[in-house]
């Protein structure tokens, strides 16, 4: 399975968010970043993890309209593919 497809990106994002503190079972596409206590610094770190994994640089404004984990996955998957 290519890790660059949507499913691979989603798994990567879920695993990355787990590093920031939430319990893995709390992380779902529908979960809001706020409910998971994922803050802007976490998103900066997520951006760096994405860049290291996929070679794609994200900008802070890419996350402007992101409120759920699914939103973040979709933004990143679009950039990666």
């Amino acid at each position: 399975m290519s890790s660059n497809n949507h499913e691979g990106v989603q798994k990567f994002v879920f695993d990355s968010i787990a590093i920031f503190g939430p319990e893995p079972e709390e992380i779902s596409r529908e979960a809001t970043l706020e409910s998971l206590d994922v803050d802007s610094l976490d998103l900066v770190e997520l951006g760096q993890l994405v860049e290291e994994k996929y070679g794609v640089r994200l900008q802070p404004q890419d996350f402007e309209d992101v409120s759920t984990v699914g939103d973040a996955v979709d933004v990143i998957a679009t950039k990666v593919q």
Binding site: G21, P22, D39, L41, V44, E45, Q48
Partner: protein, 266 residues
């Protein structure tokens, strides 16, 4: 980890200033002290090296002074290297960090000490004198901090100490540019501290009063009468506080500004 699962602080673990805690922090990483060829920066570099840090001794132009600091550290059994560059230039900041990362490891301790003065009453102060002091004392600290933060955040450990001044907290006619730069540094310290506290990265400032260094050699003795301690401080007085702030034991102190002034700001 949430709320009730908060990790123990390094103090709670009983690490104190314990050698184990400091060794773990310093292993594979280094400390960078800007403007370390003399004065407070040089003494800070020496004390950090005593505590086991490999120290990047930065200078802009005084390679003789920085070289002497490196020599003293290595003769005393410590590790240090000179990293030359002007921290008010972004390109130099990048090359300083790259040099340290490639030769030692990530910068885990950053002491923003580089500073300058160009005194004049505000009514007569030129643009060049204003900008020079702001760029060296404030903007440089921003650039080095920005560069240092991601490895510290990713590494879940970091110490940043900004050398401000009591002039950033109280008036001193003739130093509007210096005062603005140091007051700015204090505000910068608080906000960055709040941004990265969750990652076990602390950001603090020290605010020296009248300290006997080359930079205060022209300051008159009449100032001593205003100091409750009735004496000037020494670079070691400031360096000792910085040394404490970068230890694991100081892990719950962040966003603070600590005056080191013999009671002048009391």
């Amino acid at each position: 980890m949430r709320g009730s699962d908060l990790p123990q602080s390094e103090g709670e673990k009983g690490g104190g200033v314990g050698a184990k805690g400091l060794t773990e922090a310093s292993e594979g990483g280094c400390a960078l002290v800007t403007g370390a060829s003399r004065g407070i920066g040089a003494e800070t570099a020496r004390l950090l090296a005593q505590d086991g840090w490999t120290v990047g001794v930065n200078c802009r132009a005084d390679t003789d002074g920085a070289g002497e600091v490196v020599r003293q550290i290595t003769e005393a059994g410590g590790k240090a290297l000179m990293v030359k560059g002007d921290v008010s230039e972004s390109s130099d900041v990048d090359s300083i960090f790259e040099q340290l990362e490639q030769s030692v490891g990530p910068v885990r301790v950053l002491v923003n000490n580089a500073g300058t003065r160009d005194d004049m009453l505000a009514i007569s102060l030129g643009d060049d004198a204003w900008l020079k002091v702001i760029e060296t004392n404030l903007s440089a600290a921003f650039r080095t901090t920005r560069r240092a933060l991601m490895p510290m955040v990713r590494g879940r450990w970091g110490r940043i100490v900004n050398v401000a001044s009591i002039v950033g907290m109280r008036a001193n006619p003739g130093q509007a540019n210096y005062a603005a730069s140091k007051a700015g540094l204090i505000g910068f310290t608080k906000t960055v501290a709040a941004e990265v506290a969750r990652r076990n990265v602390t950001v603090n400032a020290v605010a020296p009063g009248f300290i006997r260094t080359a930079m205060t050699s022209d300051v008159g003795e009449e100032l001593l009468r205003a100091i409750p301690a009735r004496r000037a401080g020494a670079p070691g007085d400031v360096a000792a506080c910085i040394r404490f702030l970068v230890t694991p034991a100081a892990g719950y102190i962040t966003g603070a500004t600590i005056p080191i002034d013999g009671g002048l700001s009391a």
